[in-house]
Symmetry: C2
Subunit: 382 residues, 2 copies
Amino acid sequence: MTRTFGLTDTFGFTLSATDGRARTGVIQTPRGDIRTPAFMPVGTAATVKAMLPGSVAATGADILLGNTYHLMLRPSAERIDRLGGLHRFMNWQKPILTDSGGFQVMSLAGLRKLTEAGVTFKSHIDGSTHVLSPERSIQIQKLLGSDIVMCFDECPALPATEAEVARSMALSMRWAQRSRDAFGDRPGHALFGIMQGGVTPDLRAESAAALRAIGFDGYAIGGLAVGEGQDAMFGVLDYAPGLLPVDKPRYLMGVGKPDDIVGAVARGVDMMDCVLPSRSGRTGQGWTRWGQVNIRNARHQDDPRPLDEDCTCPTCRGYSRAYLHHVLRSQEIIASMLLTWHNLHYFQELMQTLRDAIAAGRLSAFVAVFRDMQARGDIEPL
Amino acid sequence: MTRTFGLTDTFGFTLSATDGRARTGVIQTPRGDIRTPAFMPVGTAATVKAMLPGSVAATGADILLGNTYHLMLRPSAERIDRLGGLHRFMNWQKPILTDSGGFQVMSLAGLRKLTEAGVTFKSHIDGSTHVLSPERSIQIQKLLGSDIVMCFDECPALPATEAEVARSMALSMRWAQRSRDAFGDRPGHALFGIMQGGVTPDLRAESAAALRAIGFDGYAIGGLAVGEGQDAMFGVLDYAPGLLPVDKPRYLMGVGKPDDIVGAVARGVDMMDCVLPSRSGRTGQGWTRWGQVNIRNARHQDDPRPLDEDCTCPTCRGYSRAYLHHVLRSQEIIASMLLTWHNLHYFQELMQTLRDAIAAGRLSAFVAVFRDMQARGDIEPL
């Protein structure tokens, strides 16, 4: 089964197979194809921390995510535009998705002020005052040269009452229309809407209907992975993807751990992003088929084995757990480099396995094996 | 002109050309050739900071230096030996030279006690007490699997009286004999003696004679690059290399800046090491044909040009000064990665240019051009 849906002249989405609610396919962009389900590494400040872009690509990443909030403050969107755009600036020629900055400024709590127009906030770097609105967020993302632009939305802090979630969702839908108007017509570039509505099915349905009425090139499921727990998240994912157009990519923002990813893909999600593989790598966490490994633990100090003997990443092909333990304890930069590379490789390999399993119609068998191996835990000490 | 001098069964030194006092050739080892004059990057704690070993090799380095002091404390020589030696541990298959630990423990000042037997000192990591002697230093370097082992010596703190330098040199010569005895016969591995004697020609001659009487596979010139200044260092280098056997490599320890390197090579030095390219890279210093560039300076924030437009390193081929400035100011790890890579590339390219110039008999012409370009300073702001 191959269905191609044109989004713009040069931006498209082709579904090649489904397995239950899970889907696999390709998002076409002028900067290259994005195989879905896709995991996007996060390049917050114009770098995936501790990785050269060629190494990020070598792990199998087809796209990465840039953060509007961080880049608008430093070095500024106007400066990146003068320097030829974010791709040239950070030496990454494949697609880039940028978030809208909304999630980060909402997290600033006491430092920001929200109105219908937008958000006024103070920079965490130097305390200077800035404004983000749907129009300004879209302008910044255009200046960056983003391939996939996200609508500016409000992500309410948890816990929140249903009334608060409803008010916030309605605001985000008005902002979605303003984002759509500000984006205009940009062949080869995509604008994604963001569904809100918390854990309330009626609000999710209302949000999905509002977004579909406006019309977007793809649809994100927002307001999840913000502390609600996996059960609540999967509860929403059991119905929310089905509220969105079947012919457009569905993006779950800020997810997640490997078992979050597997559960989300099984529920029909096409794209995800998370800082987890890079951030946890910098603190000594390795991710393998057997779950999480804390390389700082003394049990590894004499262990000549790699993190995963079957892994083909440069870290596992060249270095023992004992070495990783040593350079981590010695606070050497190479510890962040090697653990981040391994983790990104593992996440991308997981995505490839998921794509293959969906294409072969054996996703549920894979999920069973995956859960069994994750539950088994790390290999025994020598 | 090609002369080959066998050092051991599988360790040798071949001089292929001289130009004035400068020499070029190859040190043969079972782990590969070392083209001389050679610059050795420093891999203190089993890593050249912020670099993967493959990247270090890609800059043109034929050998790197490991620090006995750091490795004996963490993760310990015995642990590295159990894990298969330093080459396997750090994933570097080319030759490794290890220092003796002497220089570092002497720098601990109040934390150490010196006797004829050796040095007792406290670890800077956890305060634990350790002993280094000629015998223990050689044992540690054997456990590490070092290809070129250095004698354990005393490097007196400056300023020092001539009497103090003489006393220290005599001790180092007794320790050189004990190092030689402890090293024994190790085909394929080399032991280098270290000349001392400060800035006093008679003491340098006495030290050289003592070392030649013992007999080594190579000879280091110690006690320089410790704050005496370039004029005093070059003053010693005007005669000290000539006191050493012509058929053995001469190693100037801890040098240096590009113009130190050029001056030392012109005076007959074959090998050098220094943390400068990596350490200064981590603080935002780039080295180019036009001298030193402080990339932290605001003049670079909008500059789309690479550090050096003619440089072929990945940093200069992929990134602007504006990007380097941004990631340095943002304290991103990639800043250390990119600046270290460029600097090591520049240092190795300088060594290749020196080797070519000596082989072509045009070293003095190159030195004149080098000094002229260094004096010119960095390119003009846009």
